[in-house]
Symmetry: C2
Subunit: 198 residues, 2 copies
DNA sequence: TGTACATCAGTGAACGCGCGTTCACTGATGTAC
DNA sequence: TGTACATCAGTGAACGCGCGTTCACTGATGTAC
């Protein structure tokens, strides 16, 4: 088979392609193995079909790769939430509910990416801040509609965010505990903090 | 100095002492480094002042050591909560508040032990179950006193536990967010889920 | 009371492995003249 | 149009390290007779 020899090497001028291929490989490893510790330089380059040394053409260190991976995961997470809100229509409580559902679906379907962007140690401030600002907007609209305008919106948002994050993290523990499903929990959470307006 | 030569070796019949010394060493490493991955067999035995081979006199594998460490951490956590409840007196809401404060203090003072017993992956069912049963008892007493006796206690407990766990995990993220302090948050959380009874 | 033996609580050297990182090299593709 | 050269996108061998684990050994302390 002397058929067309495939270009095994990235064409000239597009060397940056390998960079995203390496991030892809790292994401796949994290998704499969769960622990970012498995995304070693050698494992990532092996998966990308490239020699370990090629790694250094695009990253100065393993930490730099993980930072890039977290940044990508965060973009995807935030886009997922935005889509959930947009699909929910104009009503404030519907929008908050849509965000909550999207949040929990992401955490459930991609637990390892979720774990990467909300790490136990050295939390990424950008994640907290940007997501939290989004959430505060949704909560403020609900509070206004519910007539609890005098409430401290920031505190309400903290309460709701804590609840949803805790539920996402604990959700798989304790088989003997009857966990409400995502939809039900988001509803209960909004009612608990924002009153029975809906 | 030919003073009394210290017994550098555990006296006969008390070989089990090394077992707990190894767990001590592992706990110290986790507390200092944050990540259980650093608690390798060699690092643990080095810290305990013993040869790597001595490890196998007491544990069949590294995983067995980590299991023992988690079990110990969980005992300490549960004892801490029980003490917080006992010190709070007989009033149901005071007791729930005491548990919540103790929970958050433990998570704040010993974040790495907390992270070990509420791991992101492979959650330990015993932890979830035993702690959750404790919590359900406290919540049931509050619900009864608050006159929301018709409410689903299990669901209320899920909501409160999720909130407190989420707050504990997120608490250090986002410096620009104004987090309520532990006491205030526990109060808000109880009021949100159990009504304004207190 | 002495002494041979068993047990206990370890040690020390060695193995093969995967890791991060460095170094010198390669071979195709473009560009200047 | 040819050709020398530069650049790009990598490769391959090697290093020293810490790791888990195995193996044969040691030396003090107790026990049977």
């Amino acid at each position: 088979m002397a058929a067309a020899p495939q270009p095994e090497r990235t064409p000239r001028g597009q060397g940056e392609l390998l960079r995203s291929r390496l991030i892809d490989a790292a994401e796949a490893i994290v998704a499969e193995q769960g622990d970012p510790a498995h995304a070693t330089i050698r494992a990532v380059t092996r998966r990308a079909g490239v020699s370990p040394t090629a790694f250094y053409l695009h990253f100065a260190s393993r930490e730099e790769l993980l930072t890039a991976l977290r940044a990508r995961g965060f973009e995807e997470f935030r886009a997922c939430l935005a889509a959930g809100v947009a699909a929910a229509g104009p009503e404030p409580f519907d929008r908050l509910h849509g965000a909550g559902r999207a949040y929990l679906r992401f955490a459930r379907e991609r637990p390892n990416v979720y774990g990467l962007i909300f790490p136990r140690h050295e939390p990424d401030d950008r994640v907290g801040l940007a997501s939290f600002e989004d959430l505060k907007g949704l909560v403020a609209a609900c509070a206004e509609q519910a007539g609890v305008a005098d409430a401290d919106v920031e505190t309400l948002a903290v309460g709701i965010w804590s609840g949803i994050h805790g539920y996402a993290m604990l959700g798989r523990a304790g088989k003997n505990v009857r966990w409400p499903d995502d939809d039900e929990f988001v509803g209960l959470l909004a009612r608990a903090w924002l009153g029975a307006a809906r």
